[in-house]
Symmetry: C2
Subunit: 441 residues, 2 copies
């Protein structure tokens, strides 16, 4: 460690955990260097509302540099980490080598495909802002194609939307999708028979939102079914093809849209080898969140392998935030020559939204269903969303949606946004034999 | 014309003119078929505010199908027109052939490069939502690169922003850019010497906003210069290269960002041959806006060649809207066996915004400068922006910007949005010899 300058803390990842650590290290005498591949923080819990045309992507993205303005001892580097040299204490990006005294790995998670053949290639993920916008484009492209499609089977396929995974994300997306399709889209596509529209939620286990008490799961399932979602329990996906999802029980569901929310795995930076990869590619850490062989290096959030009551901690914002705070405190202690403290998770409970006026929430004290759960969910997310302007815009978007029962961001942005994300419908247009034109009217 | 069904009016283009025509043909006994390559209407006058991170792109885009909900006799087809068969009265898209009884061409305009070598390849346009977002990405990418760039010349180049064209669009963009760079970006990039930032406006003529009275042009120039824009009059661009813009007087300005607002030309659908192309590729029309040899076919907006007081009408929304209304009325007359009427343009004046509290506006009655002109401009655009929600969101965005003097949409969305749009800085990173890493700190 050079003595000529104040010790440098390098944070990789500007998610909930990384930002919290940076904020709590403000004015602490260290130099903070925050690295992220994007120049914005993504408010992941609202991603699905971007996908269903409820919110603009910019409303849930927040410029990192604006957050860092209040942290005078912090700098931002927009880059992708290519390699970490633990021996030399250097983080390498494409065009720079950044030395560190302390390192916080907060690189989050990516979709986990559980080894299902075709899942990675033929399902749409929803982990990033780019993917959420691509999903929005995809959904509305399916309707634009369906309204022109003369073949009934093809049309049915275009109007079938399968969501794999019955956790909170899958539930929230299913509820929002079915509302979109039975509300605004009925008005948008008067010539289309919307009885054909199917929103199918596939859950491998025997109940939805398994981390919630049984009765909340039952309520969730009842709500979704009442609103038109076809919920299939014990539905294990065996294979995904460009046009269909196949289940272990032999069922085949033809669909142009298969969305994957069935789980996440850590996305640690290279070299994973030295990071003692554990379950789901996570980074093994000590109770203090330090790496076993690297007292100067911490891992937090989705990327850290931490258990709580015998279960791995869920990949949610509160965990990352609490760990970011704990690590910031531990680094301050190390600088004062004190030993880092064990991370203790405080479970504040959980909340999920199902659909209009219907949500579930649970804390150690109370359990909420229906309108109270829905209202609490909205309040929590509005409270935690960074930025007054964003909060205002999101609030207005929600009010307009609630009053007019409409979704206003029904925009298909140019296909360029599909880059890197496979898009069945657009691929499907190639099926048309050239020159085979349909006559309208 | 088949008698079995009501006559069909096909409108190509969902811009200001096409939508106005559709709205006025509502419940008129005709069948309306509106064709556009996008499923949204773009509020073009505010595009530059998307480019400077003031507004979200979705705030100035509006779903066409939502507008058509109020027009029961209208249908929408999202497609690109490939060919028009005037003899057979058929509009052909990639996968359909659409017959028409009446046809309205409202296909708008595209950038005009005046035959300047390299202009098309190496300047950034700002005619579509996609291009405005790409420009936003580009501007902030330049700053992210500049903050890491050790070479002074390279850095100067990254921080030089040239706008070609001193019309309203160029003026509005220049004013907004200089505000962005001397305001929010100073706070975002404390380590960057923002004395290096240059916003240069190149005008080929001897004054800015030439269609306004002299003193408004002078005021505009004075305002821009006071706020830090380098205004060059009589500056004729002779060539554009990937790294610089060259003027006829021999001057060379090194810049990674060269934005082209120097003019537009019509973008008529094929076959242009039969459309009697006239000046700037426009479609020649009769005083009734009918095509000379096609009494059932009209052209409106930027694509139609119409003169007013000896000058071609400007490519602005009011012209398109008035022409859309006139054509709707003419088609109704033709259906009643009456002859179409001559289009008469009513000049309601013009308004342009320069920067905070500074605008120019002119009608036949009054001439406004400074705050009144600025306030009028905001009011007009808020009034004409389609959709209550969008108006609310834009209003809040403007208020937040005004109160906090900040731009909140400073997001660099993934490079995929650059597809089809060249991006000097990203190309420039290839200059780095591999492995030549800089050490940070």
């Amino acid at each position: 460690m050079t003595v000529s300058r104040s010790p440098r803390v390098v944070i990789v990842g500007a998610g909930f955990g990384g930002l919290k650590a940076a904020q709590l290290l403000a004015r602490s005498g260290v130099e903070i260097l925050l690295i992220d591949r994007n120049n914005y923080h993504t408010f992941v819990p609202l991603l699905y509302q971007v996908a269903v045309a409820e919110l603009e992507p910019e409303q849930i993205a927040y410029p990192v540099r604006r957050i860092l303005r209040r942290i005078p001892n912090a700098r931002f580097v927009m880059a992708e980490v290519k390699q970490i040299d633990f021996a030399g204490q250097v983080v390498e990006t494409e065009d720079s080598a950044i030395s560190y005294d302390f390192l916080i790995l907060a690189t989050g998670s990516k979709s986990q495909y559980l080894g299902v053949p075709g899942a990675r290639e033929y399902t749409l993920p929803m982990k990033t802002l780019e993917e959420a916008v691509a999903l929005r484009n995809h959904i509305f492209s399916c309707f634009e194609q369906a309204v022109r499609e003369k073949d009934a089977t093809q049309r049915q396929q275009l109007l079938t939307f399968v969501i794999v995974g019955g956790g909170p994300t899958g539930v929230e997306l299913a509820g929002a999708l079915v509302e979109l399709m039975h509300g605004p889209l009925v008005k948008d596509y008067p010539t289309l028979d919307l009885q054909q529209v199917r929103v199918i939620l596939l859950q491998s286990g025997d109940r939805l939102v398994a981390e919630y008490p049984q009765r909340l799961g039952d309520y969730t399932q009842k709500q979704l079914r009442t609103r038109g979602v076809k919920v299939h329990l014990q539905a294990k996906v065996s294979q995904v093809t460009p046009q269909a999802v196949h289940l272990q029980d032999g069922t085949t569901i033809l669909a142009k849209t298969i969305i994957w929310t069935a789980g996440v795995e850590a996305s640690p930076p290279p070299p994973t080898g030295e990071l003692f990869p554990s379950a789901k590619g996570k980074v093994a850490v000590l109770p203090t969140l330090q790496l076993p062989n690297q007292p100067q290096v911490y891992a937090i959030g989705d990327v850290a392998d931490v258990e709580y009551k015998g279960q791995p901690l869920p990949a949610v914002a509160p965990v990352a935030i609490q760990q970011g705070a704990s690590v910031a405190n531990n680094i301050k202690r190390q600088l004062r020559g004190l030993s880092p403290q064990t991370f203790r998770y405080k479970d504040k409970g959980r909340a999920a939204i199902i659909a209009r006026n219907a949500g579930v929430a649970q804390t150690d004290k109370l359990t909420l269903m229906g309108f109270p759960g829905w209202f609490l969910w909205l309040g929590i997310h509005l409270y935690y969303l960074p930025g007054l302007r964003n909060s205002l815009l999101v609030f207005i978007s929600w009010v307009c949606d609630y009053l007019f029962g409409d979704r206003f961001v029904r925009l298909i942005f140019p296909q360029s946004t599909f880059l890197g994300i496979q898009s069945p419908p657009f691929a499907a247009t190639d099926d048309h034999q050239p020159g085979a034109k349909q006559n309208i009217g």
